[in-house]
Amino acid sequence: MLEIKDLHAQVNGSEILNGVTLRVNAGEVHAIMGPNGSGKSTLAQVLAGRETYDVTKGEVLFDGKNLLEMDPEERAREGLFMAFQYPVEIPGVSNTYFLKSALNAIRKHRGQDELDAIEFLQLVKERMKLVEMDESLLNRPVNEGFSGGEKKRNEIFHMAVLEPRLAILDETDSGLDIDALRIVADGVNKLKRKDNAIIVVTHYQRLLNYIIPDYVHVLVDGRIVKSGSKELALELEEKGYDWVKEKAEVEEAR
């Protein structure tokens, strides 16, 4: 589904991604872990199409298509979704109005009929249960005045409505208390299917107790220095990132 080959990216001339190579197949859950500043969020944002980053080298294929050539909205319409680490507040635009516009843009792209107000409302009511979202958040302006936890929940709610084929969750666990974390993770798990894939970007192992990854990758200085099964996350939790960093340096020295 997703193939990242030797991806290099810069911001303001400084290299953040330094040759990332990763392959994600349908039905898989991948976790990308790493210390602060390792490039995790940059990777998520580059995949979503953030223009502040310059891709200087490498290739990303999404279902065989060149992802990097697409505008952010094309990526979304092709089925890519990023849950923001810091969801953006949009004053004056109601959450449902925005979501309906987004869903219909995606449906139109897929050659499906646009949903009318009633059909959309039915869908929304059903999907908001997945993240136990308060109904009052539907008609409020997008993320405005939402608590940190409500914002993160809203991101997963958007995901539930838009049904992406590939979801990238950028530090969705940060700022969540343990109950909210469990609810959000349960929501994500319910959305997991054989024909979609999820990339979980996180600093801590905590979220991975609830969303069980098939693969764990460790990103250090803009490169994946170690990949493994879900046990790798536990090992990292125990030994810290310095352990893989040192190992990586040793390997590089060889």
Partner: protein
């Protein structure tokens, strides 16, 4: 018509012609005011950019064009079907074509006892004493060229009088339609009198059936009695080659509440002045404004809130969306007089620039002479937020959809404060049209 002398001579000759057509009415008391106003206009001439109040708004194209009022007998006949689209269904409607009241196009329903809704011309016949007492007594004709010019040439307009304690449930809509007749001077004069505890919603709409270089120069006076509750909405959607200058002068007695909502989107050069004076204690005034300008439009809004009495509260929110090479001007004066203790005044001015060539001149102007007051003001000028645009795009909206959604939300914030429902709905669709137009022109 470049020099002030030439301009004065032109309007004198237009006035002489008008006077001849008035016959017996030229002897009336109001005509004395007209003559005085013309002389005052001739002394002052049109303001130039050397005048601090007109520093950012160069009206040379207006001043050098020889405008003349449209004679009553020559007003084009308009089919009701052509007007329907501009009307507010739930309102009593007074329709004016090129400045003249049209009985055929107007619909004035049944009124509670004592309420008067009619044209000013009719009021001058039937309610002469009332007019004599109030008309042209409030707007500052002595020091203002445009008010003087309006007074000199005004023959008609709207007259609304609400007696003490009466609430008019339906809004009163005054629709000023231009046929786009070249060099037409359209000088409506409106007078709104609301008695103690009276309630009314007033809507002024300015629109054009065709484009043309005409000039609307309107003056509205609004007197709010003690405890009155008034909404005054104005939609300025003149044609793109026209000029629009308006003065709205509000006088508030004790405990009165006035909300003024202005949406300015038409004209080549448009200037709106809204002034409110608190003449009694515990008044509340809310001024909301929205400018939408594109192409080479110049839209200027000046407001003055005169806290002349203690314990009054004013809230002001003026927003502008500027695209293309549009030029916006905002000047917000707040005076707090020496005795106006416990004044609470808040002013906010926000501008969204959609293009690199759009310009805003914004000037909050607070002059405070009392010491126990709360006055705040803030002005922001910005572009659409890149993070917001990316967020919307990352969910599937294209760049234009994202920009429109954000721009619309910014503008709709003002529209949502209007209580006349079908006006609000009409504005929503006008804003969408305007955003679309801005996109094409830039």
């Amino acid at each position: 018509m470049k020099s002030i002398t030439e301009q004065a001579a032109w309007y004198q000759s237009v006035f002489d012609a008008l006077e001849k057509s008035l016959n017996g009415e030229a002897q009336s008391g109001f005509h004395v005011l007209r003559k005085k106003a013309l002389n005052r206009f001739k002394e002052m001439g049109f303001p130039t950019t050397r005048n601090e109040e007109w520093k950012f708004t160069n009206i040379t194209p207006l001043a050098t064009t020889p405008f003349t009022p449209v004679p009553a007998g020559t007003v084009a006949r308009i089919a009701p079907s052509a007007v329907k689209h501009y009307l507010i269904p739930e309102a009593h409607s007074l329709v004016f074509v090129d400045g003249h009241f049209s009985r055929d196009l107007s619909t004035i329903g049944e009124m509670p006892d004592g309420v008067i809704v009619c044209s000013l011309a009719e009021a001058s016949r039937r309610h002469a004493a009332l007019l004599e007492r109030e008309l042209a007594r409030h707007a500052p004709g002595e020091e203002n060229s445009f008010v003087a010019l309006n007074t000199a040439f005004s023959l008609d307009g709207a007259f609304v009088s609400i007696p003490d304690g009466v609430r008019l449930t339906e809004p009163v809509h005054m629709l000023f339609l231009s046929t786009g007749k070249p060099q037409a001077l359209i000088p409506p004069r409106n007078l709104f009198l609301v008695g103690a505890e009276g309630q009314v919603s007033l809507v002024e709409t300015y629109a054009a059936l065709n484009d043309g270089v005409y000039f609307t120069n309107v003056v509205s006076e609004l007197l709010a009695g003690e405890g009155a509750l008034i909404e005054h909405d104005k939609l300025q959607n003149e044609s793109r080659s026209s000029y629009h200058i308006s003065w709205t002068h509000i006088v508030q007695q004790a405990r009165s509440t006035v909300t003024s909502n202005l949406v300015a989107m038409g004209g080549s050069i448009a200037r709106s002045n809204i002034t409110t004076v608190f003449e009694g204690e515990k008044g509340l005034c809310t001024l909301n404004g929205l400018t939408l300008a594109a192409g080479t439009q110049l839209i200027d809004n000046h407001t003055t809130i005169d806290h002349a009495s203690p314990h009054c509260e004013s809230h002001e929110l003026y927003k502008a969306v500027l695209d293309g090479k549009a030029h916006g001007v905002f000047n917000g004066k707040i005076f707090v007089r020496k005795d106006a203790q416990k004044t609470d005044a808040k002013q906010t001015n926000q501008t969204l620039l959609l293009s690199d060539d759009a310009v805003i001149d914004t000037k909050p102007q607070l002059e405070i002479f009392a010491d126990d007051v709360k006055c705040t003001h803030g002005a922001t000028v910005g572009q659409l937020d890149a993070d917001q645009i990316f967020y919307l795009r990352s969910r599937g909206l294209n760049l234009l959809q994202a920009k429109d959604m954000l721009t619309f939300a910014f503008a709709a914030d003002v529209v949502h404060r209007i209580h006349v429902e079908s006006l609000r709905e009409r504005l929503v669709s006008l804003i969408h049209d305007k955003l679309h137009e801005g996109r094409i022109s830039s």
